[in-house]
């Protein structure tokens, strides 16, 4: 029988903070600007420029630390991590090695075997690097420093995870906490959340950790799961063949489903950290800490409890809605406007999720406002439009956030409440479908459905189906 192996995984998660400006200068962090339009002497590493810390970065970092049960390092400072790479214009990255802002926390994840704790070793603040673009025509690379200096927090876990499922549960938990805090949108595809996976294998039952590798370039949950499987297999194969696992950084190629070493051994990994003399220490007083604590938002568990008390909606709805901060916010805002929690919940859980899934989007990408959803619900309530028209309007709203009241008016989608016109249409339909009329009179109940459908079609969908049904029955009973 072959040996049994256990996978041991720890994660380094980088999260881009949702500040308006960079960590050490007043340049915008807006995504997608033309190259180098958000740069200044500080974030392009010009000699003599001086960094000044963005206070909001400290508050977000402490907020995440508190939400992940960390101890806060009240006296912390920044260090320089020295390395040469063109996306790093200073030839050092400002980071925190000796006194990271948060340490020794944990989050709880749900696994098949019940609730488990994943330890958080530390959280530190640092700056992002620029973006390197490889020129297709000439033998050179081009650098865009717009991202240089965008604030990051790096959350370093303990090696507490044992499978891809646990890793994903941990990442989803972190993402939820950070999104609830409003500290980042945490989009893996856009790189505002990035995970490096440290993985080793050891014989089941062994206490000693095996040699680990670090895997980078993982930009979806799917890629993470596949990379973990692939790396586990690769390391087991090496061990089975009596070879050693080398401690190295590997890059995952999701298209080829394999990884390869990133840096050659000749490239020294010696960062020669030292305290950054350009930045003064940060002291987080009790008072400041209390202020941050007081402004922590309501997290999911508390929210679920409150929803149960405040809104009369099923547990299942609560579970889904509180699964994303954006959904929960929309739910609360819309309900406050229209006073119909269950109806709001239905629109979010059914139509909204369907459209997001069809378009491969996430809740943060929801395009309509609470005002417009509330208006749409009111239109249906007042029978101004029927539910199938409402769905059509909703699709347009999701794409363009149109005002449903105006849209319905402009496109002439209002339900026709003119009984005279409706009766006239019904007479025409009955005259045109003698077979169905006869079937109905002979007791075939189903025939009414066909007649309702025909009438709705003739009315171009702008009638109240229940009203049509009633009027049809009345006409047929004559």
């Amino acid at each position: 029988m072959g040996k049994q192996y256990e996978t041991v995984i720890g994660l380094e998660v980088h999260i881009e903070l949702a500040t308006k400006t960079k960590i050490f200068c007043g340049c915008s962090t807006a995504f997608g600007g033309a190259p180098n339009t958000h740069t200044c002497p500080v974030c392009t590493g010009m000699p003599g420029s001086l960094p000044v810390l963005n206070k909001q970065v400290v508050e977000y970092a402490v907020g995440v630390g508190l939400a992940t049960n960390c101890s806060i390092t009240q006296y912390c400072k920044f260090d320089r991590k020295n390395y040469f790479y063109p996306d790093n214009p200073q030839n050092y990255q400002i980071s925190q090695l000796y006194l990271p802002v948060c340490h020794d926390g944990y989050v709880e994840i749900e696994t098949e075997g019940g609730v488990r704790k994943v330890g958080i070793h530390e959280i530190h603040m640092e700056e992002d690097a620029g973006k390197l673009i490889h020129d297709d025509w000439e033998d050179c690379s081009l650098v865009d420093y717009n991202r240089s200096g965008v604030p990051l927090i790096e959350i370093v876990s303990e090696p507490d995870m044992r499978s891809a499922e646990e890793v994903i549960a941990y990442l989803e938990k972190l993402r939820m906490i950070v999104q609830y805090l409003g500290a980042s949108d945490c989009k893996l595809q856009e790189g505002s959340m990035r995970a490096d996976v440290n993985l080793s294998v050891r014989e089941a039952g062994s206490e000693k950790l095996g040699t680990r590798t670090e895997m980078k370039n993982l930009n979806s949950f799917r890629a993470i799961a596949r990379a973990i499987e692939g790396e586990r297999e690769r390391q087991i194969e090496l061990l089975e063949a009596g070879k050693d696992v080398l401690q190295e950084t590997r890059r995952w190629d999701d298209a080829k489903e394999c990884s390869y070493p990133m840096r050659s051994k000749e490239d020294a990994q010696d960062y020669r950290y030292f305290p950054d003399p350009d930045l003064v220490p940060v002291y987080i007083s009790e008072e400041w800490l209390e202020q941050i604590k007081a402004s922590q938002p309501e997290f999911r568990t508390e929210k679920m409890k409150r929803y149960k008390e405040e809104y009369d909606i099923p547990d299942y709805d609560i579970e889904i809605i509180t699964g994303s901060k954006r959904m929960a916010d929309l739910f609360e805002e819309t309900t406050a406007l229209c006073g119909q929690p269950k109806k709001v919940s239905n629109w979010l859980m059914v139509e909204t999720l369907r459209l997001l899934k069809e378009n491969g989007l996430e809740p943060q990408d929801i395009g309509f406002s609470a005002q417009h959803l509330a208006a749409l619900i009111t239109l249906v309530d007042r029978k101004v439009i029927n539910s199938s028209v409402a769905k059509e309007v909703f699709e347009v709203m999701s794409r363009e956030d149109v005002d449903p009241v105006k849209y319905v008016e402009e496109k002439g989608l209002k339900t026709v409440n003119d009984e005279g016109a409706l009766k006239k249409t019904i007479e025409e339909i009955l005259a045109a479908n003698p077979q169905s009329v006869e079937d109905y009179r002979n007791g075939k109940e189903k025939a009414i459905g066909f007649l309702v459908g025909q009438t709705m079609k003739a009315m171009k969908g702008k009638a109240d189906p229940a009203g049509v049904n009633a009027l049809l029955r009345e006409a047929l009973s004559k």
């Binding site: 308006k20 490889h134 081009l142 020294a268």
Partner: protein
């Protein structure tokens, strides 16, 4: 000189600092670094057991900026610092991971 820098060390430090030194320069650097380490040894004679490491010479802390955008598009000026530019970007030697 108590501290002797060997050839392997000077080679390694050269790689880290991205410097290519001539044989002569290497010898000079070995001497300089040796005497720097001697000076550190001298400092090590002091008892610093109860002293917090100092990271900054001024007794100042908490110098912050508010999170407000103060810089506009200054790319034209920034790119004047580039040895070469193309498509509003800094041109650097081809660098692939």
């Amino acid at each position: 000189m108590a501290n002797i820098i060997d050839d392997a060390t000077i080679e390694y430090v050269g790689i880290l600092a991205k410097l290519s030194l001539s044989e002569e320069e290497k010898e000079q650097a070995k001497k300089d670094m040796g005497s720097m380490l001697d000076y550190i040894d001298k400092l090590n004679e002091l008892d610093t057991a109860g002293t917090e490491p100092m990271s900054h010479i001024f007794p100042v802390q908490n110098v912050f900026r508010e999170d407000v955008v103060t810089n506009g598009d200054d790319s034209e000026k920034m790119l004047k610092n580039a040895p070469e530019e193309k498509d509003n970007m800094f041109v650097v030697p081809k660098t692939v991971e």
